[in-house]
Amino acid sequence: MVALPYLWLLLFFVVPFVIVLKISFSDVDLAIPPYKPLLEWVGKNSLAIHLNFNNYAFLFTDSLYVDALLNSIKVAFISTIFCLLIGYPMAYGIARSETRTRNLLLLLVILPFWTSLLLRVYAWIGLLKANGVINNILIWLGLIHEPLTLLYTPFAMYIGIVYSYLPFMILPLYANLEKMDWQLLEAAEDLGCRPYQAFYKITLPLSRNGMLAGSMLVFIPAVGEFVIPALLGGPNALMIGRVLWDEFFSNRAWPVASAVAILLLVILVPFMMWYQSVQARESAGAR
């Protein structure tokens, strides 16, 4: 029964990575497709392998790539922290409301999640641009006289990422907090704990898996994010997903783009495995 999806994923998810790995070792060529074959028949019986590490060497000689990678990790990390800070109290509030309110609030979290990411990011252009909503309101209030430069800044990019990924933080956190036994808190308070102490000693450690799952769901895709930096970040927003995109579409440097993808993957795979083990623990705990 699982054979069909298994084969599908092998062919369209695993094999492609092998090909990316292969192409990351080939030379750029002015042909279609724009790379040279890795294996070549030389004469009749000998196969020549052109293994080429130049693409990787190139990634480390031009500071652009390393800078972009480090910056992406930094941006993703800070955005994850903000999602956690905003998302945790929200998930907590939803989990502790009455059933009727809870369903409505959950619906309100899920709704943006189902609405196009592209359109929601676009909405921020309208809010942040020079004659946009925020500047117009601030000028109307008399707080500023010249419009602030908000769009095409790192600030705009952070807002966009936190905004877009917030539901991915709230939903796993909510799923985790919802299972919590709130009587534990009452017991702690009966025994003389102050509410914040009870929260710190009971709620927070018990929701660890939810926090980890939510953070992974934000952090991992955010590192490779393309759309948000491209629309809100301006030309200087150095993010690795964007570098990969430009190498591929603008420079037609497929081998370099492949090497970038492999490098990014090597960094993200440990996090993905971590995520999977958190998920496994979470579902084992549910049983």
Partner: protein
């Protein structure tokens, strides 16, 4: 539940939801604005429906929407079949060879950055075309395959969690009474997981309908999807027609979500009362 409502939590909820909804509401409001500047309210001529009319006459957007619709429907149907099989396998067969790999393959697409998935799929299609001549060029087929690969992962999760929450004793009882496994699947399992399959279909449809990155990598000339057209327009700045498109999208999604959650809660209740 006796729980003292904390002002701190209520404030956080209020600000959080304001943060989530102000951008969406502003798009809706400005879709009725007459001014081409979009965010500068033209009080004299607004509200107006003129951008709605102009969107309905925009051939480029309509053509792209038609392509997106075709890809999304095929994708959703295919993903539901693959994802249901995968979710069923993971929930019911706790031990089989390669389960670990299989589990990893179904969770990885959920978090994998899209640029990586997109690039790797394109390179696969190019390599396949060179080796066996299929797929000849790229377009709707290759895009649909790409979308199915990540959408099925979402369907798998939804189906798997639904199956985990219901007792497999029902299936075992049917088998004890002599039903064959295939019959059990169609008569017992399928009706029970139907709400999950339905929401999986809608989720897969939406994922495909919204996807920009994987489509851009796997599409060919003449097969631009709606997000690809929107992206190229939005890169140049705001456009009143995009606000209209956003408003229409949000309206459809809202109606759909409310409808489905109402239906699911109703069937859930009747299941409970009959039990």
């Amino acid at each position: 539940m006796n729980y003292r409502r904390s002002y701190f939590i209520v404030t956080c909820l209020a600000f959080g939801f304001a943060f989530l909804y102000i951008p969406i509401l502003s798009m809706i409001v400005f879709s009725f604005n007459a001014s081409r500047l979009v965010t500068v309210w033209d009080a004299a001529n607004s509200p107006t429906l003129k951008w709605y009319v102009s969107l309905l006459h925009n051939e480029e957007i309509l053509d792209a929407a038609w392509i997106s619709l075709k890809v999304a429907v095929i994708n959703a149907s295919g993903s539901v079949i693959l994802g249901t099989l995968a979710g069923f396998g993971l929930a019911r067969f706790t031990q089989f060879r390669g389960r670990f790999t299989f589990n990893a393959m179904t969770t990885a697409p959920l978090v994998m950055p899209e640029v990586i998935t997109g690039l790797s799929l394109l390179l696969l299609f190019v390599a396949l075309e060179q080796a066996i001549g299929w797929p000849a060029g790229r377009g709707i087929t290759t895009m649909t395959i790409g979308h199915m690969t990540f959408s099925m992962a979402y369907v798998t999760v939804v189906v798997q969690s639904r199956l985990a929450s219901f007792d497999s004793a029902l299936e075992e009882a049917a088998m004890d009474l002599g039903a064959r496994p295939l019959k059990v699947f169609f008569v017992i399992t399928l009706p029970i997981i139907f709400p999950a399959i339905l929401s999986g279909w809608l989720l897969a449809f939406t994922l495909s309908w919204d996807d920009l990155v994987i489509s851009s990598f796997t599409s060919g000339p003449g097969s631009s999807t709606l997000p690809m057209v929107v992206f190229s327009k939005v890169r140049l700045g705001v456009s009143p027609e995009i606000n209209v498109l956003a408003t229409l999208t949000i309206s459809v999604v809202t109606v759909m979500i409310i409808g489905v959650s109402w239906w699911v809660s109703r069937t859930g209740r009747s299941e409970n009362s009959s039990a």
